[in-house]
């Protein structure tokens, strides 16, 4: 049985309970969390380091105020309460990539707590949701295309990232078989926010949608580049199963190393099926951390045995607690840009986009910004036509090339111009597709392409009549048949006329003229 079908079968019997932990580096801060070293990706190892982020004897951390503000911004954007009093704690454990052998993190007083994000699940993804969950009434609202699910945010806290280990001599840089390990501290001390969700997620598709939605919010806020491949956004998932209708949680496993949204979905799908098989064969799920292998599409228990860690959290004594007043919180709130949900509503209510189209465009920051720019140029009355070009021709083009919108040659004014050419009947919508392909290739303006290629559509009734007369003359038998009632032949005549006119005739006019002259 296909994995997908197995998953759907398992989901009939079992309800997954999923919570996510999403780490995001605040790449928007110029400097690290507790020192002045620059925040960047890669580079020669150990070149962006100082006594503080190397944990040299005597060095002290000084908190980055901007990173704290960005965290508060993230909290406000996800409906969290902002703590009036907050502080850092030390999370203590030994690991070579952690310079101080404790991580400055937060414990019982995170900057943000108690938020909520709604995700829209549409189409096939919605089929993963099955009836029989105990809290579906609270969690889910059905829509025309699927459903919306409310996902609670437990907390968002701020901490420092660790360095990176490079294992030499083993296979693929992993620890197993390595002869030595090197540490690069360039990343150490990068501000990192950790968002923890409530266990409100019930399907791999919801988990993926949540992570995508969160990425979109973070990108809209501009707090991070959210590059999953470079690790600036990292998603870990906790998942357990329970029988449909039950409210008790089962034993959970934690899945790590899911470096893309697809991996997140597939990792959870695999793990759900695996747990169901364990449970249905009378076994018990072992609480453990499992590593997702995107190539093999499976999870495996991490080699190191899971110990019950005692992190010995205690308040960071190198800093004083933070007190946030209303003025500060309101000042940060004033920085909030329009968020994706609000943007989508505006597309629907002000610009008349169908909700689904608005969702698709608003869920991609580049698409949304492109769309806004195009509508600003072409006017709200062209919004629908612009969105059609974007959702069809543009999306297909980007998918075919595997490129981002910003990497293509298409700019908003080109799409508006194309829409206007169709609107003015200068070209047909069929011709528009050709023009689009051309402009995507060359970056030329649609008008220029139409000009160069002589693609102007002929709407001149006289010219069309001349051609129609000739075609009718050349096909007297067909004309007879048509007049005898075989009206389906109209298509034949249209095709003949269009071919004769090199496809440039306005089909609407051709149809009108043909109908009139055939009747006569």
């Amino acid at each position: 049985m296909m994995t997908k079908d197995r998953l759907l079968a398992v989901l009939e019997r079992w309800e997954p309970v999923i919570g996510l932990e999403i780490h995001t580096e605040l790449t928007s801060t110029r400097t690290k969390m507790f020192c002045g070293c620059p925040v960047a990706f890669g580079g020669e190892p150990n070149t962006r380091v100082c006594p503080v982020c190397l944990g040299l004897p005597g060095a002290l951390p000084v908190p980055n105020a901007y990173a704290i503000e960005q965290t508060v911004l993230a909290g406000l954007a996800t409906g969290c309460e902002i703590a009036r009093r907050s502080l850092f704690h030390r999370k203590q454990y030994f690991y070579p990539d952690m310079p101080k052998d404790y991580q400055i993190s937060q414990y019982d007083l995170p900057f943000c707590a108690g938020g909520e994000v709604t995700v829209e699940i549409a189409g096939e993804a919605a089929s993963q949701r099955k009836e029989g969950g105990v809290d579906e009434e609270r969690r889910v609202r059905l829509t025309d295309v699927g459903y919306n699910a409310r996902i609670g945010i437990t907390r968002i806290h701020l901490e420092e990232d660790t360095g990176k280990m490079v294992h030499v001599g083993g296979s693929e840089g992993r620890l197993a078989g390595a002869t030595k390990s090197l540490v690069d501290f360039n990343r150490a001390g990068t501000p990192l926010i950790e968002l923890v969700t409530e266990p409100d997620i019930r399907t791999p598709a919801e988990a993926r949608a949540f992570a995508q939605k969160l990425r979109l919010i973070w990108l809209t806020l501009g707090i991070s580049d959210c590059n999953m491949e470079e690790g600036s956004m990292r998603v870990d998932a906790n998942v357990s199963l329970r029988r449909r209708g039950e409210s008790e949680f089962g034993t959970k496993t934690e899945i790590k190393n899911m470096n893309s949204f697809k991996s997140l979905h597939d990792g959870l799908a695999y793990e759900i099926v695996r747990q169901a098989e364990v449970l249905e064969s009378g076994g018990r799920v072992v609480q453990e951390t499992r590593h997702f292998d995107a190539g093999a599409k499976r999870t495996s228990a991490t080699r190191s045995k899971e110990e019950a860690h005692d992190y010995r959290y205690f308040p960071e004594p190198d800093m004083v607690p933070f007190e946030f007043d209303d003025e500060f919180i309101e000042r940060v709130r004033a920085r909030l840009p329009e968020l994706p949900d609000a943007r989508k509503m505006r597309f629907v209510e002000e610009w008349g986009l169908p909700p689904h189209d608005a969702s698709v465009i608003a869920s991609d920051l580049e698409m949304a910004e492109f769309f806004e720019a195009a509508v600003n140029i072409g006017g709200p009355e062209r919004a629908k036509a612009v969105s059609n070009v974007m959702l069809n021709d543009l999306s297909a083009h980007l998918n075919a090339r595997g490129i981002a919108l910003s990497e293509s040659r298409i700019v908003p004014s080109m799409v508006v111009e194309l829409v206007e050419l169709v609107e003015a009947a200068t070209i047909s919508s069929k011709q528009a597709k050709e023009v689009f392909a051309d402009m995507a290739e060359t970056g030329d303006s649609p008008a220029a392409i139409v000009e160069i290629k002589g693609m102007r559509q002929v709407s001149d009734t006289g010219a069309i009549e001349a051609v129609v007369t000739r075609i009718l003359d050349e096909n007297p038998n067909k004309v007879e048949e048509y007049r005898a009632g075989k009206t389906g032949l109209i298509g034949f005549f249209v095709g003949q006329v269009m071919r004769e006119m090199g496809g440039q005739a306005n089909p609407k006019v051709v149809n009108e003229v043909l109908a009139r002259m055939l009747e006569g």
């Binding site: 006594p51 503080v52 190397l54 944990g55 040299l56 004897p57 005597g58 060095a59 002290l60 951390p61 000084v62 908190p63 030390r90 203590q92 030994f94 070579p96 310079p99 101080k100 052998d101 404790y102 390990s181 540490v183 005692d310 010995r312 959290y313 205690f314 004594p317 190198d318 800093m319 004083v320």
Partner: protein, 500 residues
Amino acid sequence: MTVDLSALTAPEIRAAILRGDLSAREVADGAFARIEACDDRVRAFNEVTRELAYASADRVDDMVRSGASPEELPPLAGVPVAFKDNMNLIGTRTTCSSRILANHESVYDCTAVARLIKAGGVPVGKLNMDEFAFGSSTENSAFGPTHNPWDLERVPGGSSGGSAAAVSAGMATITLGSDTGGSIRQPGAFCGVVAMKPTYGRVSRYGCVAFASSLDQIGPFSKSVEECALALNAICGKDPMDATSVDRPHEDFTRDLERGASGLRIGVVTDMLDMEGVAPEVKSATMAAAELFAALGAEVGEVELPSARYGLSAYYIIGPAEASSNLARFDGIRYGHRVADAKDVLDLYMRSRAEGFGPEAIRRIMLGTYALSAGYYDAYYGQAQKARTVIIRDFERAFADHDVLLTPTSPTTAFRIGEKSADPLAMYLSDVYTIPVNLAGNCAVSVPVGLGDDSELPVGIQLIGTHFAEGVVLRAARALERAVAFDVTPPLVRELQARA
């Protein structure tokens, strides 16, 4: 002629250099001559930094040669200074008197150190200490104990024993130590020098290897209160590298020194004087100091700090808890001692640390780790923080109607080397008067008032001020210093002077 640092104060050195009577290099040589003459017996120095000293001294001499005005010459120009070996200084090793850092070379400067040098100080070396500042006798040094210049059989106190002994023996004019529970004041008292722990936040901790972050504070040692004030002038002030350092308007701590004690409200902390283990000679010296203040026109009253007695217990939770965390970084990965043949990373951690740390460090790491463990946190660390809050309230009440509180600095005078090393609890009692001040974050200075009636060793009196009241504390200290007119020269120095 060799310069005798025991016979000169910092302002006298500066004045002589300015007049051209002495060069900074000659003064530095005076320090080195004394180090050579007696440090094989005192063992205050872990490292002597001739090159650094000459570089600083030459800068001062160049300034004088090029006609610097008295205003241009920095306030401590040419003054030999030295630093407890937990403070970073480029060009030196910063060992914390521990095997684990025995070869650790500083790659950056401690802020207070850099400030003292910028103020004209000539760095002559790094000073012995109890390993990572864990101790009250400087016996817990991986490099062997420092000896008290008043009696070489005795400890200089600790943990900044090297800093106290170096000033006492005239091997440096001003030294810096760090004080977490008394580590500046108690050795100051044992060696008969002036020693101050400033208010928490007054002096940047950046670059001083942390023992307990919420308690540590850097402060000066000197032969006189005036030099103490000058040193504090040089090292205090907000540092962007230390989030707990406090931004305050500039003060000149020498300004009120000669105003006398008249009108000061001084509270003798009587309930702490009656504690077990207080030597009669210390108690009588304390009462004598109180009477002196009264005679000088101060309003002397009695005050109680009923919770201060819990300070020791709270301190031995909070201190080790923070220390266990602060010392985690000494793991053999990036610097410091590392076993050569580790079979895996856990083995590397465990054996490097076991070999690198001495017994007292291991004891405190274990204590602190235990106190922060799941299930014990509330009973130990949480409870200790509550006790700390109560002690802070006690001090606030006491300072509501007193400017300065008066206690002994330590219950006894200097004890013999080895006398208490087998009994950590007895050793810990040595800091019973000083610890509450760290817990409350107040400032305090230890002033030598004379020799004990029985031991004939220096006795120190602790004068405590509320937060950022260093000015008034130093004024009281100066009044006491002038009244007792104690000659701080130890027998060792007299002997050397006689020979010269």
